[in-house]
Symmetry: C2
Subunit: 283 residues, 2 copies
Amino acid sequence: MSYLDRIATCRRWDPAAYRPWVIDGRTLGRVSHGVARRLAGFPEVFVVGDDSVALAPGLDDFVSRSRAVAGVLGEMKARGEVPHWRGEDYPVVERWGEAPALKIERAAAALLGTHRFGVSVNGLVRSADGLKMWVAKRAANKQTEPGKLDNLVDGGKTFGMGLSENMIKEAWEEAGIQAELAAAAIPTGAVSFRCARPEGLLDEVAFCYDLELPQEFTPQNIDGEVESFSLWPIEEVLARVRDTEDFGFDVPLVIIDFAIRHGLIAPGDPDYQEIWEGLRMAE
Amino acid sequence: MSYLDRIATCRRWDPAAYRPWVIDGRTLGRVSHGVARRLAGFPEVFVVGDDSVALAPGLDDFVSRSRAVAGVLGEMKARGEVPHWRGEDYPVVERWGEAPALKIERAAAALLGTHRFGVSVNGLVRSADGLKMWVAKRAANKQTEPGKLDNLVDGGKTFGMGLSENMIKEAWEEAGIQAELAAAAIPTGAVSFRCARPEGLLDEVAFCYDLELPQEFTPQNIDGEVESFSLWPIEEVLARVRDTEDFGFDVPLVIIDFAIRHGLIAPGDPDYQEIWEGLRMAE
């Protein structure tokens, strides 16, 4: 097992299994052929071609698109075709921060293969015996990846909230980190991936932060999504990422990115360039 | 002017203007149509097709390929068709560290559009009045980009030397940094770009390092390639990168990567994701 195995997991998808969902000339989602056939049942909203999916003529602004697609998703939900419904909106965009073409229910982002955005915080403690990282264990009742290991904070980006604002909200909900402490987190870039998962195609950019925490701080979960936290020497975190699948499938990208940025994975590693390249989706 | 302008400069090339140079089924270089026509004059070495360039049958190992291509380059040099000859070899590879398909004269890497590798060191000083960065001014007689501003250390990767070993060698030649000081530099990943320049197609990965230097250290150029060094507040470096073209064309990528990793360019910037994406070549 190696870092490259963890990266490969995050890049596993077959372009031939999807039709691009094209809006205003841009691919904003990717729809499996099975889902495309179901969308073809709503011709007043979706124009489903053999090679691509589009919105029906006339659906040309944020409000009308959002309303029309919400109607379709509501019917699909009623038939049990949209698992893990969250009641939370995601923007449909190419890049974070641009004006969205529409908004959709979070659970449908995987179904329609739209771009998703997350925030991940590496929780760090410097001590006399070296650098340590906080590791969370996801609750056994989480909808996705129950019981897997996770970053201190790892959350999806909700519609209409700034990235850092969202990070601060998640830091409180997931780890009980007060806003003034979370605000010290340093944004360090992102990782991105596209892969086929049971819930659909995940096409995600996770914006990453490093947060140095005082030695006396202990995280405490508020929202019930984390079972426990533990503080590990960074070498142990990296070995567990490299040698096991104990972390949530995409968490290794964030931790490997941390390790690359801080020289913990160094140019002497024969896979160095390939690891570095693997932290982002190649278009 | 913006960071995105600096990035765009590093991504300016027209795929239609080149034919892939394919070796063992992999594209290891890109040759302009003009150069391809010249290579067609050496049919015992190059098989030049309309859509691609290959090596002649029988040239199937490192030694025979390197010798045959060196012969062609020698003749082209004699005709004045390989400017800036260096007498230094570059490996022809897809990724740093793999067994090279052959080696070629450094000056021919741009001509044949092969992958190039460099090392760049951000020279940093923490002081009571904030973070500062050493900026070099390239000598007026440098072959490429004379007089432009540069990183503290910025060099091409020679054949047969490890990345960090190469960084330490360049740190001495360019900035008079002793090996034990240079060894404290932290590798932090890389930036990559592909762009058309007067000397040909530059397709480069620059491996980046952060080096914190003591306040009392002053860099001193050894090899005559740097005219002077000065220590600037980081905000001034970033403003100069963003608002002018005073730095060598590819130096901004390294500095912008530094700024992203350290939160100096933050998610509040509406271009954040696009800047982050622009630090690497999309294939």
